[in-house]
Subunit: 143 residues, 2 copies
């Protein structure tokens, strides 16, 4: 899986006429090894722990690049932090977010997706993407 993503990124870099740099490789490494929902800050801190010379701006710019390359996606959970999640070929999922502890659980539901398409169509919209988040208490926090 990591191999595939790395290939995807180096192809993107090449095809765009960009340069392959040590920093980008490092950041990709850390991104691939990370949780599925990292804020820029979180990834930056992880990277900096091993590579104190890599700056925040570079992490920020590189994450944007990952999104452009199609191996990451920006998400907002309304807490004022932009997060990036991993994108896997043809996969889409939504989120359950615990309002107390911040735990994020992913889920997929084809039936809902289908209904979404129907709703959109009935309003004449052609859907490109969607976002669905359910906020509440996770099992632990319910106690």
């Amino acid at each position: 899986m990591k191999r595939v993503k790395k290939k995807l990124f180096s192809d993107f870099i090449a095809q765009k006429g960009l340069k392959s740099t040590r920093q980008r490789d490092t950041i990709l490494e850390f991104f691939l090894a990370s949780d599925r929902h990292m804020s820029i800050e979180e990834l930056y801190l992880k990277v900096r722990a091993k590579h104190p010379n890599i700056g925040y701006a570079t992490v920020y710019r590189t994450l944007k690049l990952f999104a452009e390359a199609g191996l990451a996606r920006e998400i907002q959970f309304g807490d004022g932090q932009t997060r990036y999640e991993h994108v896997n070929e043809g996969e889409h999922h939504d989120h359950l977010v615990c309002t107390r502890c911040g735990t994020i659980v992913e889920f997929e539901n084809p039936v809902i997706e289908k209904l979404q398409d129907e709703v959109a169509l009935s309003h004449g919209f052609l859907i490109e993407t969607h976002k669905m988040e359910l906020y509440g208490l996770c099992p632990k926090c319910r106690k």
Copy 2:
């Protein structure tokens, strides 16, 4: 409808021991007369056109108050602007957002809501709220 909302707000004000001011009345007036999805900036500009002496901070604080009073709700469409929409008694709806022109259409779908609850339950979550936005092209922009 406006009468009801105004009553709601004045009751809230009274019950909280807050004060009724000319500014709050003015801002409520403009909010009630507005589109259903206004950013603070947009409402501020509309208000300022008629009342140049009302400041941004007051609009900002008053909108928060409307949310607390239950007649407005904060929404985020990921464009970095906080918007406020009107809240009507017992109503919940989701949004279709045009990625080209920004048009926002509201919709309700009880079947999806039910499925959301089921999904949440199957993960042990107790849902408080949810957010669902479908992004794509509106009928006009499809042409």
